[in-house]
C-alpha cells in the first residue's frame, strides 16, 4: 500500500480543519434561537 504524499496529506489537513470549523459553526447557528434562552439560563 502506497503512502500519500506530503502535499496530499497537507491538503487533507486543510480540508478537514475547514470542514470541522464549518460544520461546527453551522451546528451552533442551528441553535441560534435557543442560544439566547440558554444564555439567560446560565446567567440566571
Amino acid at each position: 500500500m502506497t503512502q500519500p504524499s506530503l502535499r496530499a496529506r497537507r491538503m487533507a489537513q486543510w480540508f478537514f480543519w475547514i470542514w470541522i470549523v464549518g460544520v461546527f459553526g453551522l451546528y451552533v447557528l442551528s441553535f441560534a434561537p435557543v442560544l439566547r434562552i440558554l444564555g439567560a439560563f446560565l446567567t440566571a
Binding site: F15, I20, S30, F31
Partner: protein, 643 residues
Amino acid sequence: MSTLVSVLALFLLIAACIGFGSTLLTAFRARNYIVSPAAWMGLSFVVGIGVLGWLLYFLGIAGALNGPVCWGLLLAGSGGLLFARDRFGVIPAGIRPSAMGTLLIAALAVILVFDLLEGVSPPADADSLAYHFAIPKQFVANGTVTFIPRPASGAIPLLLHMTYAAALATGGELTMTLWTMVTGWGAGLLVYVLARYFVCPRWALAAAVLFLSTPAVLYGGGAGHVEIRCAAFALATAIFMIEAHRRNALAPLFLAGLCTGFFVASKYFGLIFAGSAGLIALYHRQWFVRGLVFGVAVLLSGFQWYLWNWLHIGDPLFPTLFQALGLPDTAYWTAEFDNYFSGLYQRTENPLDRTLWNWLLYPVYATFNVIRVLEGGRTGLGILLFLLLPLAVAGFLRRELRTPGVLILLALPFLFFTVWFFSGTTQRVRHLLPVYPLLLVAFMFLALRTAERLSLMRPFAVAVVVALGVQIAGQAVFSFNFARYVLGNESRSAFYERNVVATQAVTWANTHLTSDHKIAVMDRQLVYLFDVPVFMMHPHSQILIDARPTTTDQATFIAQARRTGVTHFLFTGEWLSAPSTDTTTEPFRRMITHLLKTGCLSQVATFRSPYIPSRTLHQLQSETRHVLAVVARLMPLKCPTKD
C-alpha cells in the same frame, strides 16, 4: 418501599438478566467466542433483558404480575449466574490508563453522575408519565396485562415495559427509574464491545462515551423511552451477525435472530430492523437455511404483542392494517376515526415529502435543525457523524477497510433508514437511535484509519472532543432540573409542581377519590401520577370516549363516559371554557361549558398552576401565565340522554 429494598431489587434485576442471558449464551455455545468479561457481561445482560420481558408476558396474561412472582422470577434468573462465574475476570493490577483514557473515564464519570441524578429523581418525561411508566403501573396495580385500545401509546409492543413492571413490582418507582438508567448503560457497554472488534480500547471507550452523551440518549435513556434499549438489541444483533459470518455458524445467527425479535417485541420499528437484518442474513450461499434459522428466532422472541393485538382487535399492527384488513367498526376503533387519526398523524409527524431528494438530505435537515418537527437539536443524534463524514467516506473507498463486519454495520442502518423514511411513519430523528450506534462504530473505525493514514489525528481528536464537549454541556443543562431536586432537598410534590402542570388536581383526586371512582383526564402526562383508577381521554388517539375538538354530541359523550365507568373528569387549559386564541378546540370547549352549566358535570375542585413551557429551561416559565384545572363529577341524572 425502603431505599434498601429498591436497590436490592435493582441488583437482583441486573443479576437475573445476566443469569438469563448467560444461560442462553451457554446453551448456544457462545462461550467459544465471547471471551472478554465486558463482552460477556454486556451481551448476557442485554439478551437477559429480552428473556425477562418475554417471560413476563406469559405471567402477565396469566394474571400473575405481582411482587412475589416477580421476586421469584428474578431469583430464578439469578441462578444462571453460575454459567457466568468463570467469565468475569478481574482487571490486572498495575494497568495505568493513558492520558486520553483517563480523560475519557473522567467524562464517563461525569455522565454517570448526571444520569444518577435523573435516576434517583421521580420520572418527569411526558411520554413516560403518559404511558411508558403509566402502563406498567396499571398492569402491576391490576396484577395482569390488559389490552389498551390506543395506538402509539397503548396497543404497542411492550416487552421492555414488562421489565419496567417487574422493577415497579419488586422495588417500586426508584427501582424503575434506576432500571432505565442501567439498561441504557447496557447499550453503552455494548457500543464498547462492538467497537473493540474494530478499534483499540481507548477509541472504543470514546465511542461508548460519545454514545452515552448523545442528545437522543440523554432525552430517552433515563426515561421510559424504548429506543436506547432497542439500540442494545440492535448492537447485540450486529455482534452475533459478525460472529455468524466469522465462524460460518448458525448458532450465533439464531442468537442474532432472538435479539432482533426482542427489538420487534419492543417497538413496531423492530419489524423494519428485522427486515434489514433478515436481508443481510439471506446474503449467503446457504441463504435458505440461514434465512430459516434467523426467521424462526425472530418469530419466537418477537411474536407476542402482535398476537395480543390480533386477538383483541384483529389488527396485529394496530391501527396500521385496520382498513387494509377490512375490520368492522367496534367501540375501540372505527373506520371514520381511523381516517381522522391517520390524517392527523401525517400532518403532525411527517413534515417531509417522501422523495429521493429529502431522503438524501434528511441527515442535513435532522443534524442542523432545519425542520423543527424532526427534533434534531433537542433529541437528535448530535454532530459527530457529520464531523467524521469526509474521513469515513475516504475510508470506505479503500477496499481493505470494507470488511464484512464494517459492511454489516453500514448496511443495517442504511436499510433501516431507507425503509423507515419511505414507509410514511413518524419522521422524528430519535426513532433512528436504535441503529445510530452501529453507524457510530463504523464511522469511528473508518475515520480513524483514514486519520492515521493521512496524519490527521489531531483534527480527528478535536472533532471527537468538540462533539463530546457539546453533548456533555447539553447534558449538564438537562440535568440541572434533577440536581435541583436531589441536591436541593426538594419534596416530590414540589418537584412535580415545577415539572408537570395541574399536579395539584391529581393530589386532590388521590386524596378524595377511591378505587370505586374513575377519573378521565385529557392531559396525558398526568396519568402516571394517579393512584386511583384513571382513563386517558386522549382527544386524538382513542374513541372509547370521543373527545375530539369537534365533538359536540353531549348525550353520546356522556353515554360513552358512563360505559367506560368514568365518574369524574379533569379538564385542563385549552379544554376548558377559558378564553383561548386556539379556536380548533372551541366546539368541545362549548360542550363542556354547557355540561358544567346544566349541572351534568358538577365542579368539585379548581386549581391554577403555572404554565410550564420547558422542564429543562425553567427560566422560560412565565410569572403571569397560568393553567386552569377543573375536577368535575359526573351527575348522570342531570345529563342529556340519547333517545
